[in-house]
């Protein structure tokens, strides 16, 4: 069975076999009713009940496929229905709102506005499925090779049961792109599972096996359970091999999903803890306001977004990348202000810094609350971060999490670069190794403390930026990270970034593996208990700094 690598949007939508039969029935009458007319379509749509509306859309699609109707008109009517701009009641005037103008839905000519405007027929869940199929199919009819063709084919794959056969056949013919035609053939295969002839069924089963998803597996399993369907040995064999093939790929997909989720959660933990690894790990300052520095990074990103929205809307989609320097600078500035005013006095009293930074975190949360209010900030999801793609079987990679992982790697590289390749990094490590000795050899610890605190805070700001697509941004978002990031730094071993990275990967992965087994609450509890026990027996963490203590 050749496995055709194909990028396809999620086909996992659930239509049971039973529904399949019902839908096929539904599509049938449209064909029989030859007397297709635009007026009939609009009249059915205005009845505002799912049966007639579905029939109308079915008839419309079949007519467009047969060339008896223009795709553009169909698209306009369906878009109006979806946008609540088709104003009509079962009886009385029928109008289509086109901006400020009211038009006759059938002819498109301007119409006079009646005294009381009827309201738009409501599109419930069942009808919405038909609206989505119609919108996709009509767009494909208009431009088979259009930019959004792949997404539109995906809609047809999801709702394959209600795509009228004639329309599907027409779409297959007119589809220039080979990979899209293959996917449309898969849609037809899903429909023709019920075909009378055995070899038609076998070929359909084979095509379906090419797309190993849990939904298809369930479909085939249901067919295998029907004695009449699987009577023919060839069909039987095809079903068994197809199901075995899908099972193997499903397991591969599941492993991929667990690894990806683990990596994504680990990247979040790592970014939250990295700033702390510098501030607490290297400088020994217990900073309870680290979460708030992350929050400040996120708010800075939001301000950049708002500024771009006002000044340069064209660049709005790139606000995340443009905000990188701003988020770093904002958090670093706050961090340095903290250090200069408060932390500077407390380097020899670690437990007092703990209380001081707690007070500062309380101050920052409430300051932001007073300035920006308590509601969640609204972030535009940039186009390149919206949605995701299916890698294999049901394993799905979402762009915002992939961005977080990539960003975490970037931040790690930046941190390592600064620490090991720049004079500042050398001085920071000297000061943390032996503050007094560093002072003796002429390192101005005042300046180095300020700058290294700034770097640590800046890294937290970048973490804030990377987390905006995933987490809610509000004044109290910082509290999510405090307990976890301290444990990551302590578990990883104070004083080195590699330890923090390994600890974050470990905690992230274990958390994700346990979550499906015992639920999210138990996962968090088990991971925390494991860390507490680990620290008991190895207080210095995974990578302790070797040598005399």
């Amino acid at each position: 069975m050749s496995e055709r690598p194909r990028h396809r949007p999620p086909p996992w939508r659930q239509l049971a076999h039973a529904l399949l039969a019902l839908a096929a029935l539904l599509a049938a009458p449209a064909r029989a009713d030859e007397s297709y007319g635009r007026d009939a379509v609009v009249r059915h749509l205005c009845e505002a009940k799912s049966e007639p509306m579905a029939q109308a859309i079915g008839a419309l699609l079949t007519a467009v496929a047969a060339g008896r109707e223009e795709a553009a008109w169909g698209a306009r009517i369906v878009a109006a229905l979806d946008g609540k701009r088709l104003l009509c009641a079962p009886a009385g005037p029928r109008l289509l709102r086109d901006g400020a103008v009211l038009r006759d839905p059938v002819t498109g000519r301007e119409a006079v506005a009646p005294d009381r405007l009827p309201n738009a027929p409501f599109v419930n869940l069942r009808t919405r499925a038909w609206v989505e199929v119609a919108t996709a199919a009509l767009a494909l009819f208009a431009e088979p090779g259009g930019a959004a063709a792949s997404a539109q084919v995906a809609v047809l794959e999801k709702q394959y049961a209600i795509v009228p056969e004639t329309a599907l056949a027409a779409l297959v013919e007119r589809q220039p792109a080979p990979d899209l035609r293959d996917r449309l053939l898969l849609v037809r295969a899903l429909q023709s599972l019920e075909a009378p002839s055995a070899d038609a069924r076998v070929s359909a089963i084979a095509t379906i096996a090419g797309d190993p998803t849990a939904r298809n597996r369930t479909l085939l399993a249901a067919l295998a359970a029907r004695p009449d369907y699987a009577a023919d040995p060839a069909v039987r064999a095809a079903l068994d091999t197809a199901m075995a093939h899908i099972d193997t790929w499903l397991r591969v997909g599941e492993v991929g999903a667990v690894l990806f989720s683990g990596l994504s959660y680990a990247s979040i933990l790592f970014m939250a803890a990295l700033g702390l690894a510098v501030i607490f790990g290297l400088m020994g300052v217990i900073n309870l306001a680290q979460g708030e520095l992350i929050m400040i990074g996120a708010y800075a990103t939001w301000l950049v977004q708002e500024a771009l929205r006002a000044l340069a809307p064209a660049l709005l989609d790139w606000y995340l990348l443009l905000a990188v320097p701003v988020a770093f600078a904002a958090a670093a500035a706050v961090g340095m202000a903290m250090e200069a005013t408060v932390i500077r006095h407390l380097y020899r009293r670690p437990l007092m810094t703990l209380l001081a930074t707690w007070a500062i975190s309380l101050f920052l949360v409430n300051l932001v609350q007073v300035l920006f209010g308590t509601q969640n900030l609204e972030f535009v999801t940039p186009a390149f971060l919206a949605g995701g793609t299916r890698v294999v079987a049901d394993f799905m990679v979402t762009w915002n999490r992939l961005f977080a992982i990539a960003f975490a790697v970037g931040i790690l590289a930046l941190a390592l670069l600064v620490l090991h390749r720049t004079p500042l990094g050398l001085f920071v490590r000297a000061v943390t190794e032996n503050r007094d000795m560093a002072e003796c050899v002429g390192v101005s610890t005042r300046r180095i403390d300020l700058l290294s605190f700034g770097v640590g805070s800046g890294l937290a700001g970048l973490a804030g930026l990377a987390l905006t697509p995933i987490y809610n941004v509000n004044p109290t978002m910082g509290t999510n990270f405090i307990v976890d990031s301290f444990l990551v730094v302590v578990l990883g071993g104070v004083g080195n970034l590699a330890g923090t990275l390994i600890a974050a990967l470990g905690i992230g992965q274990i958390n994700i593996v346990i979550e499906p087994l015992y639920g999210a609450v138990a996962a968090k509890v088990i991971v925390l208990l494991m860390i507490i026990l680990f620290i008991q027996f190895r207080p210095e963490g995974i990578f302790s700094v070797k040598g005399r203590r």
Binding site: W12, A16, L125, E132, K158, A214, S261, F379, V380
Partner: protein
Amino acid sequence: MMRITSAIGRRTLLKTAAAVGGALSMPAIIRSAAAAEPVKIGCLFSSSGTMANIEGRLSHVCRMAAQEINAKGGVLGRPVEVTVTDPASDWPLYAQLGRQLLLQEKVASLFGCWTSVSRKSVLPVVEQNNGLLFYPLHFEGEENSKNVVYLNSPPASSVLPALEYLMSDDGGKAKRFYMLGSDYVWPRTINKICKGYWTSKGFKETSWREQYVPFGFSNFQTIVNDIRKFASEPGGQPIIVLTVVGDSIPAFFKEIISQGIRATDIPVLGLDVLEADLEGLDTAPMVGHLNCWAYLQNASSPHNDRFKAAWKSYVDTNRLPFRNNVVIDPMVSTYDGVHLWAAACQKAGTTDTDAVRAAFAGLTFDCPSGYKIGMSAENTYVSRGVFIGSVNDQQAFDILWQSDGAPKPVPFSPYA
């Protein structure tokens, strides 16, 4: 039971001088120079802490309702005065401030609480001191204290109608249910009632799955993967019964949007999803998901238009930090509560708790939701209409279905 004596002499604060916490006079009260002695009512809504964003608005609704009542001559000829406190989303403070309002301020009634835990912490205070708490939120039911007026609907008359719709043909003939909730009493009770209801409809254990997440949980990646797997299993159309609360709501929707799940694939019935929760989200990909409340902003009724206009002008004149065009169910329930209390006092001829409670039976009020809500002698529940809302792309809900009357509230569900 300790009687609240209203002898003016002892009530003045300064006399009870004590080293700790003695002088608790409330500068927030402006002693209005009204002719008659004002009737005081107390507000227990947090304007700081995690609940501030949505709960903070309710104190202002109380004040607005009091203004309306005072404009029509107040209660028994006496102006209504609202004492506002801030329990700061911290449950011991709810109890403490409640005790202070009842014992020190001698308020005639309390309007307060949002989460079940804040209500549970004020419950002993009102029961020990025979006070009256008007609770504006829909909740898990299973409670019927004579000192609490339950302004919103228990699960039987809010969740079950929504489930019936989703299991009907128009709703997509749901046959399998993924229950996802925050790990505390309200979600667990709702899910228990749903399971009882489904069993009575002949569903078996295998057709649902239950998953709980800690408070403030926001990493739904693994759970949405699990939901997608659940959705691909045989047995019919799956839906998600969502009872996560607070910040988990937008976090959950962000994840299902990014994993490409639409309402036509797996509809989400969000039992605690408010317009305010959608503020931070682009709701275009969420069109079609459902919620159920006793009031929706788009409810079409003259009372609703008047209420929305009154709130808009109140927000603008007082320059409040809220959007003046967003109105949510608990605000309307609080508004109803103040008016019901005033009507009860008027009917009872006194503001004394026991007399007011007796006056509740048969009271009705034209709620902005368009329904005529009322109370019966059986319990202190208010019968409310039911709306099922469907998310539209303007961060609000269209009315998908609404009950044709205000069903009788059932405090203790038969399925619990």
